[in-house]
Amino acid sequence: MTLHIQLANEFGDFLADGEKAGAFRFSRIDPFVHSHEKIVLDFQGVRNMNSSYANALIANLVSQSPEVLQKLHFANCNARIRVLVETALALGTEHLRQKQFEVA
């Protein structure tokens, strides 16, 4: 089963508010990670995004567990979105590695 989220439907064409991204992740993605095989964040209709939003949504999602990284997928990213998603992925995986190191 796939959790498919159209971000433009929730936030419009510019994703700018980190607090709202954090709240959205907490209520609409985190509870469904285990029950879905794939999580698709769909950027169709999104023109631009900032780092605050990308990191609050994606970096903090990825840093939760290795399971998220295996399930996560991004659709319809334009060039502006893609560079910010890649940085959020890099930050998230770095935080994840730090957490795993602390646990070990």
Partner: protein
């Protein structure tokens, strides 16, 4: 100007004379607004002299400068939509203010309506402004604990785009201290706090969980804005408390100054050379790689479709 206005903090009544002034930058306007709000909150009397005699009187009225200062002056002109001719000063946070996204898109549109297109080769100015205003506005909302003001301006003669945001909140040092940041040292100065805030992956709140689990602050916003300014041949300016940080493209080292009297909140001014602004995703990729946020050789291609 920061020091001159700071002198008002010790007075019960502050008089501001507009007559000798013919040109105001966005930084000067939002700074005076933030200071006026701060003084009024402290029950000081603020008097504006020669408002009507000032050559920019109607312009100041139209961009809502006086009304945001709490001064309702009758207007002898018809208000038309600002369109792309000028940018009204916008309030950040507090009752009735627009969302960060709306505010940032509006300001970017006013400065560069022609570049509001899909093609990143042509939309660089719009994308950069929208991104920059939104990051600074998020900082005000997340850290300042008081409203702020935003303004932008393009001067064709100098080809400079300026974005300024000022608030009369708690400032950078107190944000670290009040949030119990492990980075904050007892003997820290405002300059120390600013220098730390400008480092990548540092935020006064990054150690704190948010209501949504982990902190929503990755601490990369100011670092990237500083790099974007210098990449376009521009200038980055940040002042808070007694600390002033200024970095000009082409200079080997940034400048740091200490003010005589502290500025209660935070002011940040970004200056870009418009003709040097190009494809925004490429600029972003370059600055992120430069500050170590995009590790070289790391591939994420299999995440995208």
């Amino acid at each position: 100007m920061l020091d001159r206005l700071g002198a008002g903090d010790a007075a019960d009544e502050i008089a501001v004379d507009f007559l000798p002034v013919t040109f105001w930058t966005p930084g000067a306007l939002v700074l005076l607004l933030a200071k006026t709000q701060f003084w009024r909150k402290q029950n000081k009397r603020v008097v504006f002299h020669n408002c009507k005699e000032c050559p920019a009187f109607r312009y100041f009225q139209r961009i809502n400068f006086y009304s945001l200062c709490g001064l309702q002056l009758p207007e002898d002109f018809q208000r038309h939509d600002a369109g792309s001719r000028f940018v009204e000063i916008r309030r950040i946070g507090g009752e009735g203010s627009a969302s960060v996204g709306e505010l940032s898109t509006d300001i970017a549109y006013c400065i560069s309506p022609d570049s509001h297109v899909d093609d990143p080769e042509q939309s660089g100015v719009f994308d950069l402004l929208e991104y920059s205003v939104s990051e600074l506005a998020n900082n005000v909302i997340q850290h300042a604990k008081a409203p702020g003001f935003a303004m932008a301006q393009y001067m064709p003669r100098t080809d400079l785009v300026r974005v300024a945001i000022a608030d009369h909140g708690i400032g950078v040092l107190r944000s670290f201290a009040d949030n119990g940041s492990p980075l904050c040292k007892p003997d820290w100065t405002d300059a120390d706090a600013i220098a730390t805030a400008l480092q990548p992956k540092v935020s006064s709140k990054s150690h704190l969980p948010s209501p949504w689990g982990e902190s929503v602050n990755a601490g990369v916003g100011l670092t990237l804005l500083k790099e974007l300014c210098t990449q376009t041949g521009g200038h980055f300016f940040l002042a808070s408390g007694k600390g002033v940080f200024s970095e000009l493209a082409g200079r080997e080292f940034p400048q740091q100054k200490t003010l005589t009297t502290p500025f209660q909140g935070t002011i940040c001014v970004l200056t870009f050379v418009r003709s040097k602004i190009r494809n925004f995703p490429e600029m972003m990729h370059q600055v992120k790689t430069a500050v170590g946020l995009l590790p070289n050789g790391k591939e994420f291609g299999n995440f995208f479709s």
